[in-house]
Symmetry: C2
Subunit: 346 residues, 2 copies
């Protein structure tokens, strides 16, 4: 089965899971006061996981040490969905696509009679799922193509600024993981260049990655569609075509890392089987390297899922991590805080 | 005609031009002493071209000024062949491919009887050209695919370290343009992020871009082949497949810029019609932006060619530059020095 097919099927299954009972998303109180100022990872509980991160960073940055890595070669890659922000009950980008169908519906009166759009408009997830891969391809084409790249960026920016998570009612950009924000900042402060390497659409993620994670658009790698250069009214535009160029998931992650970055990371973090090959590729970096997985074990503050989940399935990669001694974050016990504290004026 | 076809045809035509009479490549004496220390562009003669560059950089970096651009948004893109280094009498990558055929010939005894390889081995450029697009595709597949990315990098590094330009007998990495090296450094010193955006193969260029231009691999954008992740003896590798993923030339340049960088440059430099769309895309950046072309006008120190050249043809882009007031470098008059001074121990 092609990777594209797998990707779409995952999305379809995810669409059918919107109604799954998920634990309520509640934010823990912010980190207790009195944490030493010097701690760059205040939302991480002390323990083996935090120690492994700090130890690794110390060793590769120790000038003259046997494991020193020059700053320009300190490449760190992070999956996004489930690693930097939440992915339950459905991928954020799928929520965006479904909202886009609703927003575009007035211009498409035929959709009220035509699946999978009819199902989306009526909230009938079973009908959407029944439309299969072809149906989801239609949804993606209708919502992710036909615009110029500039128009699409504006649409994403408007949506991400207003859409809310169905359980927490917080903005999706506030459903990022506070400990991972600290980890990104900690790595950058130590001369690492941080990249997103995600199965999600690259232009969707670029709409918020810089503001949310401090990762500029040129360091965001994701699944990509073909664009076509054209002149409209004597001005150049890039039109998003309904054709996939590259799927950045599973083996597509090391392929994407090579395509965009051209060298192996020495640090990589994921949370699902889609990250297995990226972690394997990092493990083969030929020097000291760090492979991490976020294990969603916190049914109270976030969600608890792994081997049987249709979204973010973590099975083979967990076995490999355990066998090879990669670092596995136990979200419940390793993270003091899950999400950033709510801002006063929200 | 597909862009890929155009690209290959250009290469084929270029192959037929190896015997063209080219002016001898002679290096001018290094810049005269007494140049003020403060001049960041000592190899550029004073004049309108140099003034336009310095004026632009001053305006976009003047904090609080009306045309100020934040450092993170100072994206500068450069074509490579003919813009940062020479491209005559043939593209360097084609010289590499032809040398690879010779190096691989002992493993392929059948090549002595089979075109286009027979033509390459016998120096019969007409026979190579006669093999057409299919022939060049065979050469590219035989020399640019089948290896792992790691093996290919080593092959390129070894070649670039030993191969010599047919006229000057200097290494290709010494046939870079000294004024452009200074321009890259000047832009970086002013907070710009410099990228290569070239029709050349991305993995070929990454073999020397960092050392030669100070541009790290993740800022090198070029034409790309498909790679495939695989496990060999329990170690992951990426195998270079004989399949084109993306051709970064002409309209492919703005498409590539969007794909890799995700935002418009404010500064771009090219030298041929293949750069026209990149410059148009930059001109549409929505604020003060700089579009430059290197015009090869120096038959004595380098080469003189433009509208009728089979390599680096500059025709439509020159008309557009003149019509729109883009900056055109007159190599003969604007550049005090063309190539870096020869090193003492060469």
């Amino acid at each position: 089965m092609s990777r594209l097919r797998v990707w779409f099927l995952v999305l379809i299954v995810a669409a059918g899971c919107g109604a799954e009972p998920g634990a309520g998303v509640r934010e823990q109180a912010t980190a207790p006061r009195g944490t030493p100022q010097a701690d760059p990872l205040p939302s991480w509980n002390d323990g083996a996981t935090k120690a492994a991160i700090v130890d690794f960073v110390g060793r590769v940055t120790r000038d003259g040490g046997p494991e020193f890595v020059a700053p320009g070669e300190r490449i760190a890659t992070f999956d996004n969905d489930g690693t930097l922000w939440g992915e339950q009950p459905v991928y954020v980008q799928l929520a965006f696509a479904l909202d886009r169908v609703k927003a575009l519906a007035p211009k498409h009166p035929e959709w009220t009679q035509k699946q999978p759009f009819k199902g989306v408009l009526e909230g009938d997830v079973k009908a959407v799922a029944a439309s299969g891969e072809h149906g989801l391809l239609e949804i993606m084409a209708a919502t992710h193509a036909g615009n110029t790249t500039e128009e699409f960026s504006r649409i994403v920016a408007d949506w991400i600024d207003t859409a809310r998570h169905p359980k927490s009612n917080r903005k999706y950009t506030e459903m990022v993981y506070q400990p991972m924000l600290e980890l990104l900042a900690y790595l950058r402060a130590n001369g690492f260049k941080t990249f997103i390497v995600s199965g999600g659409g690259v232009e969707f993620m670029r709409g918020f990655a810089d503001k949310t994670y401090g990762i500029p658009s040129e360091q965001v790698i994701g699944s990509s569609g073909v664009t076509q250069y054209a002149m409209w009214d004597a001005s150049p535009v890039l039109i998003k075509m309904p054709k996939v160029l590259f799927v950045d998931d599973g083996p597509g992650k090391p392929e994407g890392i090579n395509h965009f970055i051209g060298r192996q990371p020495i640090f990589a973090f994921g949370n699902s089987d889609g990250d297995k090959e990226m972690l394997e590729w990092t493990a083969a970096c030929g020097r000291l390297c760090f492979m991490g997985l976020v294990h969603h074990t916190d049914a109270v503050r976030e969600y608890a899922y792994d081997r049987d989940s249709s979204v973010g399935k973590l099975d083979k990669a967990l076995d490999e991590a355990n066998a090879k001694g990669w670092t596995v974050v136990d979200m419940k016990n390793d993270w003091k805080t899950i999400f950033p504290a709510a801002k006063a004026a929200q």
